[in-house]
């Protein structure tokens, strides 16, 4: 009985906070848009009893999903999101790995401080932090002024409102998600393994490739998923830093929902996004599972 209760709690949690909202969204995605409140039909009218349920079910169809395939905007947005998410995940890895490595190699008494510095940004509002990038990246922003002052450039660069700004924003925002799991993997790495590799004929660099990288693989995979999954559906960063030509599915979703007030199509977009993300999420879970097994 106690075991049952223990298992029931997380399932109940999932049911209430994930499955129920998902079913609602799924249902809306199968409806049609109207000008009403709520802006879709049919709505379930239980006062008419069984007939009401049947009418409601008959009104549901896959029309919105067909619509997604007809208009090129949607699959282009999905593809573009995928590209931005993959690329920014790679960039985050490129920036995050050396940081994690440096942290893991730092003297013991430095590590808590470094850890704090990585987590510190979470203590201020995400919106404010993304907003402040506007001040850095704009034509008259800090970055351009600095580069002009250095004499590296003579004309201010256009970074804000381009995809570059979006990449910068994503890398900046999700960096801790990459750094922390890699750091956790590297911290456990036994120094003597590197010595053994060198002893057996490796240079420092090849010891890094042959020992350090494979042994931090789990951390790399975990960090990459933790960046990729939210980046795929990212809305705030492209909205604030991206330009009109930045195409991301999160932005499309937002526009469908609030500008067009087409809740059913917006819901269909959301459901497809979720289905697309299920693949990496499952892979991520597998990796975590393997991690635990390797440790246990």
């Amino acid at each position: 009985m106690r075991r049952f209760a223990l298992i029931a709690v997380p399932y109940l949690w999932l049911l209430v906070l994930f499955l129920v909202p998902f079913l609602i969204v799924l249902k809306i995605s199968l409806s049609d848009a109207t000008l009403a409140i709520p802006p879709y039909t049919p709505t379930l009218d239980l006062s008419r009893g069984w007939q009401g349920v049947r009418d409601w079910a008959a009104g549901l169809d896959l029309e919105n999903y067909w619509f997604l395939t007809e208009d090129a905007l949607y699959w282009k947005a999905y593809l573009s999101s995928l590209k931005i998410a993959v690329l920014s995940t790679l960039l985050t890895l490129l920036v995050g790995y050396p940081i994690a490595y440096g942290m893991a190699r730092a003297p013991d008494h430095w590590r808590p401080t470094l850890m704090m510095l990585v987590i510190l940004p979470f203590w201020t509002s995400f919106l404010i932090r993304v907003y402040s990038w506007k001040a850095i990246l704009s034509q008259e922003g800090l970055l351009n002024q600095f580069l002009l002052w250095l004499g590296v450039i003579h004309e201010p660069l256009t970074i804000l409102n381009t995809n570059t700004a979006v990449y910068i924003g994503i890398v900046y925002t999700y960096l801790p998600f990459m750094v922390l799991p890699i750091y956790a993997a590297l911290e456990k790495l036994d120094e003597s393994l590197l010595e053994a590799a060198e002893d057996l004929g490796c240079s420092r660099l090849s010891a890094f490739w042959l020992v350090t990288v494979p042994l931090s693989r789990q951390g790399i995979i975990a960090g990459s998923f933790l960046v990729f999954i939210p980046a795929m559906g990212e809305f705030v960063i492209p909205a604030l830093l991206g330009g009109s030509r930045t195409l991301m599915i999160g932005k499309v979703l937002w526009e469908e929902f609030f500008s067009n007030r087409d809740w059913p199509v917006a819901s269909a977009v959301a459901v497809v996004l979720l289905l697309l993300l299920i693949v990496p999420i499952v892979l991520f879970q597998r990796n975590e599972q393997k991690n635990r097994e390797a440790e246990g």
Partner: protein
């Protein structure tokens, strides 16, 4: 205990011989702590050199300096006459078996052993690597575990993987940091002989750290006994055992009885050591460096002491020492027994005797009055 016979291999006695390794006044400090204190030591090619000493005395530190993971704070280390300061570990013809094994957890046993080979001049030749790995697997009896990962095998098997991995490249100098600690006695003895065999066949020079002095005695051509970063004595196992240069070494290697006393000035190479009120002094050969009278320790191995119910007949010219005592404990060890005998003055003496008779007919029992005796050359007089 078996003592290895000198086989005529003794380059350390030859002033012409060039050492493979030379430590020249090497000191190693970690912060303010001195781990190795002004070490000067020569190790010759084809030697099987054992480092013996209590935990924390600096054995691993010596190994790590040879492998290239630590640089001496002072002094120089020469390999083949060349100063190896600054030569990185991967450029030294040295392989090390780590005390912690340091096996690569992401690689199988097979790949662990092949790791070094793949980074040698053999790298291109897959079949040669495979042959060498198989050979190593066979040697360490790991054939069945070749495909397993290190966390899927036992501690003893892991130790053998580490050994196989360090042997695989057939280095000029092989450093073994407690290579056999986790093996059971039988496998350990077999591996010891295997090591000696490898050493004989390949001519590799071995430096081995061990806590097991019996192991050091079995495999080593020379043994260095260390204490707090200093080497107290370097000699062949037989010399270390028979002629320790200090109480520390005598006490560290094997079992020994120590009599502290006051020695008379030596006459004809012998001195007399008064060690207890009312008992005859011990007559023993005086060490060469002893001049006048001195405070000394007389050390004698338990198996060099005779025990019997009667006073033994006098040896010619009174060369025997004989004392009366009482048996307070007997430890039966199968082939031998150890008798703990208390002398009149309270001094306790361990005596070892072979059990040539069946146990029922043993003539010495608890609480029995006995005589112990030893000749004047059976023990050593130690001045420090």
């Amino acid at each position: 205990m078996e003592i290895q016979e000198n086989t005529g291999f003794a380059p350390w006695g030859d002033p012409e011989a060039k050492p493979l390794i030379r430590f020249q006044n090497v000191t190693k400090r970690f912060g303010t702590f001195t781990a190795i204190d002004n070490l000067t030591l020569d190790i010759y090619a084809r030697e099987f050199f054992a480092l013996l000493g209590p935990s924390g005395c600096g054995k691993t530190t010596i190994m790590r300096m040879l492998a290239g993971f630590e640089d001496p704070s002072e002094g120089e280390i020469f390999l083949d006459g060349e100063n190896i300061a600054g030569v990185p570990p991967n450029r030294r013809p040295v392989n090390m078996m780590f005390q912690s094994y340091a096996l690569f957890p992401h690689l199988s046993v097979w790949d662990n052993i092949a790791f070094g080979l793949r980074r040698s001049e053999m790298a291109r030749d897959k079949t040669r690597i495979a042959a060498r790995v198989e050979e190593m697997l066979k040697l360490t009896r790991l054939e069945k575990f070749a495909r397993r990962k290190p966390h899927q095998i036992s501690g003893g098997q892991r130790q053998r993987v580490a050994l196989a991995r360090s042997l695989a490249k057939a280095p000029r100098l092989l450093l073994l940091d407690e290579p056999l600690g986790a093996l059971d006695k039988k496998l350990r003895q077999e591996t010891q002989f295997e090591l000696m065999d490898i050493q004989e066949r390949t001519g590799t020079t071995f430096v081995i750290v061990t806590h097991d002095q019996e192991e050091a005695m079995t495999v080593a051509s020379r043994v260095a006994v260390m204490d707090h970063g200093k080497i107290v004595q370097v000699d062949t196992p037989a010399t270390i055992y028979e002629a320790p240069n200090s109480v520390y070494v005598a006490d560290f290697i094997g079992e020994i009885n120590i009599f502290k006393g006051h020695a008379s000035p030596p006459r004809d190479g012998f001195c007399e050591i008064a060690f207890a009120e009312g008992l005859a002094p011990i007559r023993a050969r005086a060490p060469e460096e002893m001049q006048g009278e001195a405070e000394v320790s007389f050390a004698i191995r338990p198996e060099k002491v005779l025990i019997g119910p009667e006073r033994p007949p006098e040896l010619p010219e009174g060369r025997a020492n004989a004392y009366r005592g009482k048996v307070i404990d007997i430890a039966y060890l199968g082939n031998i027994s150890t008798y703990h005998v208390e002398l009149a003055g309270g001094q306790k003496v361990k005596v070892q005797a072979a059990n040539t008779r069946r146990i029922q007919r043993r003539t010495i029992t608890w609480e029995q009055e006995v005589w112990i005796s030893f000749t004047d050359t059976a023990g050593v007089v130690l001045t420090r």
